[in-house]
């Protein structure tokens, strides 16, 4: 589906205004890929027609759908295996040791999308750290999208999604069949508190986090917004907590107060001492 420069600019501007996600020139493909299904479900003929309808959209409903479609992310369970290995072998054992006296751990997934990342982390915790069942575990997962927050809460995945990166052993243990779909068992769903949160907007009061997952989301923001988000993460973290960014992301030139951990390909950071 072809996209003309005027419509691309218009859609970019709308999306930027509503979500602070930057769609620079060259990201036309992304707009086409994300909006083509919406064009079909709205019974429109083209993205041009969609853009035309958006301009007349007084209620804001169509614009909300466009922003939603542009900000959701294709994802799989155990996406990039390395960070989860580092979490399992190094980061979580260390945090458990340090928090032994309080028996309290605060975790935040900052861009939970359709829920694969928080549920992967929840499975990893249940599988490897059974002792945390007796701790006060505050596990928050947030996303900008209302639809995604609802999807996360339901924890329902299609066969195609369940095939992506999820070990069969864990599927058998933590999922149940729901018609043609697969649903996360209640025990795991109840571990996580799903919220709506716009990273470039106002953040609610939250406990000081021990672990923050913020992978592959900063790429959507422009430099000043990235800086603000990284700073706010620091302010909401325990001084000895950890942040995970996407493997290809960096705090370099954005925030000097982070240091990258020397864990292979995991994008793991902590706040510099002193």
């Amino acid at each position: 589906m072809a996209l003309n420069p005027g419509d691309f600019e218009y859609i970019s501007k709308i999306v930027r205004g509503q979500s602070a996600i930057v769609l620079e020139k060259g990201k036309e493909y992304l707009v086409e890929a994300r909006l083509t299904p919406l064009v079909a479900s709205e019974n429109l003929g083209s993205i041009a027609e969609l853009a035309q309808q958006m301009r007349k959209d007084i209620s804001g409903k169509l614009i909300a759908k466009v922003v939603e479609a542009m900000t959701t992310n294709e994802t799989s369970f155990f996406r990039d295996i390395h960070p989860f290995e580092v979490l399992k072998n190094t980061v979580i054992p260390e945090l458990i040791q340090k928090r032994e006296s309080q028996k309290r751990l605060n975790i935040w997934c900052g861009a939970s999308s359709s829920g694969q990342e928080p549920y992967t982390l929840a499975m990893l915790i249940r599988e490897n750290f059974p002792q945390l069942k007796n701790w006060k575990l505050d596990f928050m997962a947030s996303d900008i999208s209302t639809e995604m927050q609802k999807r996360c809460q339901d924890g329902i995945y299609s066969q195609l999604e369940i095939n992506r990166g999820l070990p069969a052993m864990l599927m058998v243990k933590y999922f149940q069949r729901s018609g043609a779909q697969w649903q996360i068992k209640p025990e795991l769903r109840q571990m996580i508190n799903f919220k709506i949160l716009n990273l470039s907007g106002h953040w609610p009061l939250m406990p000081k986090m021990d672990l923050v997952m913020m992978r592959n989301v900063l790429i959507y923001f422009d430099v000043p917004t990235k800086k603000v988000i990284l700073q706010k993460i620091r302010e909401n973290m325990q001084p000895d907590g950890y942040v995970f960014l996407g493997a290809a992301e960096t705090t370099l030139n954005l925030d000097v107060k982070y240091e990258r951990m020397n864990f292979k390909q995991s994008g793991c950071y902590r706040i510099k001492e002193g």
Binding site: S158, Q159, L160, R177, G179, A180
Partner: protein
């Protein structure tokens, strides 16, 4: 919860054709009647056990040939009859396997037969069964259909 078979078949069929073949198929309300459209091939798998019946994939020969040429990576004119039967058989197998997971009783075993493919210019009639769902799809100018037939239970 009642399962809407037509809806599930539509989703499975779209997924299979898109993932395996990269072809876009659209559910349609148009009727596909094999008699009107030249040679039609029918792929069929039986489901046996806690649910008994069969699943059919009815496909015009021309579309089946395109499917086979994609799966085997051959040119249309060098696609053999064997390739076509194999490709259509596998698509029927995938469709049937997915449908089986919806109908089987979790406590009992349920089996899928190997697929059979035949030329069928008339609508196949399997004695002792009735149609529980039929979904028709469109790919470009081709129509094709998936039928689900359930064995009529004998009166005691």
């Amino acid at each position: 919860m009642e399962i809407d078979f037509n809806l599930e078949i539509s989703q499975y069929t779209k997924d299979i054709w898109e993932q395996i073949l990269g072809l876009e198929v659209i559910p349609t309300t148009e009727d596909f009647s094999p008699t009107e459209k030249g040679t039609t091939l029918a792929g069929c798998v039986q489901i046996m056990g806690s649910w008994e019946g069969s699943v059919e994939l009815l496909c015009p020969a021309e579309l089946a040939k395109k499917v086979a040429s994609i799966m085997f990576g051959t040119n249309l004119d060098e696609t053999s009859e064997d390739d076509i039967k194999d490709a259509l058989g596998e698509l029927t197998n995938m469709t049937g396997g997915n449908i089986k997971s919806l109908v089987h009783d979790a406590d009992q075993e349920c089996f899928l037969s190997l697929p059979a493919v035949a030329v069928s210019d008339i609508q196949m009639h399997v004695p002792g069964t009735h149609e529980v769902a039929k979904a028709t799809f469109k790919h470009e100018n081709h129509l094709f259909a998936v039928r689900m037939l359930k064995k009529v239970e004998k009166k005691k």
